[in-house]
């Protein structure tokens, strides 16, 4: 995967570049808004990581210009401003996701991975399945190995989010944002508690666990690997 990182702070930029390179991605770094725009206009990339405050041209303007010229690559905004209004502004300008500094590298990686795959999942499918677990998004039902499982609304939403991103890590923050619409950290074990309830219904009665925890990062769902 090819990632363009537009970030004027050299330390952060190098930190992201190293981390992504270790994961086997090819990374291009630019340190100026205008360079970011020029590079993305003439080169293709899978994800653009765009700092909102940059010399030359701010991130919002870069995103708007790219969208105006028909570029559809996913854009992840980095910002030190975590306010609702800023978030909305970023998404309106053509951003696909939003990450507030400081962040865990694993959080950035998880989001980039999800973003890079987004176009394939865009085709609306009403059924999701992993191994012997099936989810009917229209009927709001879950079955595993033929057994119907009763899920609460939030549990269903968590499971749907995990299954849409099967094989990829979904972080705690992503769950809070997308399942609960929380733009703040509730300082409690909301995610952990609901996740353990979900696991008790989905995994516990069966032999093979499907939901996996990545320590300090998040959760993923995938079929057992041979």
């Amino acid at each position: 995967m090819k990632v363009v990182v537009a970030e004027d702070d050299r330390t952060s930029s190098e930190f992201i570049r190293k981390g992504l390179a270790q994961q086997g991605h090819s990374v291009e770094t630019v340190y100026d808004g205008r360079d970011a725009l020029t590079f993305c206009l003439y080169n293709s990339c899978d994800v653009l990581v765009l700092d909102r405050m940059m010399p030359g041209m701010d991130g919002l303007s870069v995103a708007k210009a790219l969208r105006a010229s028909g570029r559809t690559m996913p854009i992840l905004f980095l910002t030190s401003m975590g306010d609702v209004d800023d978030r909305v502004e970023g998404l309106m300008a053509g951003g696909d996701d939003y990450l507030v500094k400081p962040f865990h590298f694993s959080e950035l990686l998880a989001r980039i991975t999800v973003l890079a795959r987004r176009p394939q999942t865009a085709e609306a499918s009403s059924r999701l399945s992993i191994h012997d677990l099936e989810l009917d998004l229209m009927a709001h039902t879950a079955t595993r190995a033929g057994t119907r499982i009763d899920l609460q609304a939030k549990e269903f939403a968590i499971l749907a989010l995990l299954m849409r991103n099967a094989g990829r890590i979904v972080t705690k923050t992503m769950l809070l944002e997308q399942v609960w619409d929380f733009n703040f950290d509730p300082q409690t074990t909301v995610v952990e508690t609901h996740m353990s309830r979900l696991r008790a219904k989905i995994d516990k009665p069966f032999e093979v666990p499907l939901i996996h925890t990545t320590r300090n990062t998040g959760y993923s769902i995938h079929a057992p690997r041979q």
Partner: protein
């Protein structure tokens, strides 16, 4: 000197001068009208008198004997002492036949003539009628002296009146301006002291309740708010410094320990702990920023109507298992009626979550937390009540201050920002937060304003 010039520059004095000028202009026009009216009336009086005298001359000439006319003119002119008329009779060839030796008027009818001043005719200007009677020209005129004296006297009276009014107006303007100027000077002095950093001084407010006093009162209210803010800010800065220093120094120690840790597992453990401390620090920063942003803005454009009861049952679904894990109970206690809140739903959710978290954190295991939405005097309300230790009545206001914890030594987890954020969100929604005794425990009532939008929805 500066004092006088500042008084003269005062609004009261300026408007007095302006009014005075306007008054004088009107007075001048009125004076001209009055004087010309009076003198024209006096003149027509004189004309009537002159016409009457002329009747006598015509009657005398009726017989055709010009000597009779001559005798009449002579006897008139011969009257003893100074007189207030001139009379002359000229022969057809233009030479003087009888009466005063004045230049023969060329025109017939009314004219103003000037005679030489002598003992007989002490004044200069006369209003005269000239007519030809039987070929002889007769001129008879009466003095305009009294008209001129009358006009002059009128003018003098008017001038005197304007001067008195003018001085009066300037004096009143000066005094009024002096009063205002003194108040304004005190105001400037006070504000200068505030600018120099003394936030406790206030403007003097007089008893007259004039505009300046009203402005002073308003400015005092602003100064009150300002010094409150300054005090809060000072406390907040000190608290932030204190509260940020502790996790910072803990992280610092953990990092040093990690550097010297013998095993890799130990090192990882210490590094993770240090990271957690830094995250805590970041969390405090985020919350402080969030509070200040919510407080700074008064933007309600993103507000929408939503059901309070739906919000409560959704939040209950999310937090019931979390509270259960702390071996406490979270239940919904329905109030009468469903209410519609107009606001930023996410913010109100955070408010509710903070209240639940607080209730759970400060209550012992086995406690019961009740969540409810309803209507109180037509106002939408959200209520979070617990049967925990509660807050003593006298300390209920201070818990809203940032970084305030009732038992800082016992309570390591919270940064003391939860209720400050609740207060900020409530204020943004023009809602009030009330803390009450739940007997036992704490009962928090958030009361939203009655909204037209809410009623329509």
């Amino acid at each position: 000197m500066h004092r006088v010039s500042s008084i003269l520059a005062g609004a009261a004095f300026r408007s007095a001068v302006l009014l005075l000028l306007l008054f004088l202009a009107v007075f001048l026009v009125a004076g001209v009208v009055i004087v010309s009216q009076t003198s024209s009336e006096a003149e027509s009086e004189i004309r009537a008198l002159v016409s009457n005298e002329f009747e006598l001359f015509r009657e005398a000439a009726e017989t055709g004997d010009m000597n009779q006319l001559r005798q009449l003119v002579d006897s008139s002119a011969a009257a003893a002492g100074p007189r207030f008329f001139v009379v002359a009779l000229y022969r057809p060839d233009g030479t003087l036949f009888a009466g005063d030796d004045i230049p023969r008027p060329e025109k017939l009818g009314w004219s103003t003539i000037t005679s030489g001043v002598n003992t007989k005719t002490p004044t200069e200007k006369y209003l005269a009628l000239t007519e030809d009677i039987g070929g002889y020209r007769v001129t008879f005129g009466r003095t305009l002296f009294f008209v001129e004296v009358g006009s002059a006297a009128l003018w003098r009276a008017l001038m005197l009146a304007s001067i008195v009014v003018g001085i009066g107006a300037l004096a009143i303007g000066y005094l009024a301006s002096h009063g205002v100027s003194a108040k304004l000077d005190r105001m400037a002095e006070t504000l200068e002291r505030v600018a120099r950093g003394d936030s406790r001084v206030r403007l003097p407010v007089g008893r007259s309740n004039d505009q300046v006093d009203r402005v002073s009162r308003q400015m005092n209210a602003h100064l009150d708010r300002l010094s409150d803010l300054l005090d809060t800010m000072r406390n907040t800065v000190i608290s932030i410094a204190h509260d940020l220093k502790s996790p910072l120094s803990r992280a610092y120690i953990l990092l040093q320990e990690a550097e010297e840790a013998p095993g890799e597992a130990e090192q990882t453990q210490l590094l993770e702990e240090a990271q957690a401390e830094i995250e805590r620090l970041n969390g405090i920063f985020d919350t402080v920023l969030r509070i200040s942003r919510i407080e700074a803005s008064d933007d309600q454009s993103g507000f929408a109507a939503f059901s309070a009861r739906e919000l409560v049952s959704e939040t209950l679904q999310t937090f019931e298992p979390v509270v259960e894990e702390a071996r406490q109970e979270l239940i919904e206690a329905p109030l009468s009626g469903d209410a519609t809140i107009v606001g930023d739903r996410r913010m109100v959710v955070q408010l509710l979550v903070n209240l639940i978290t607080n209730a759970s954190r400060y209550s012992p295991p086995g406690a019961r937390i009740e969540l409810s939405a309803g209507v109180e005097d037509q106002h939408p309300v959200l209520i979070v009540a617990d049967n925990g230790p509660g807050i003593p009545a006298e300390r209920r206001t201070e818990v809203f201050e940032p970084f305030r914890r009732l038992n800082p030594e016992r309570d390591e987890r919270g940064a003391g920002l939860g209720l400050a954020l609740v207060q900020a969100i409530a204020t943004r929604h023009r809602a009030s937060v009330r803390l009450e005794d739940n007997q036992p425990g704490l009962r928090v009532i958030v009361r939203f304003p009655v909204s037209d939008l809410g009623a329509a929805a």
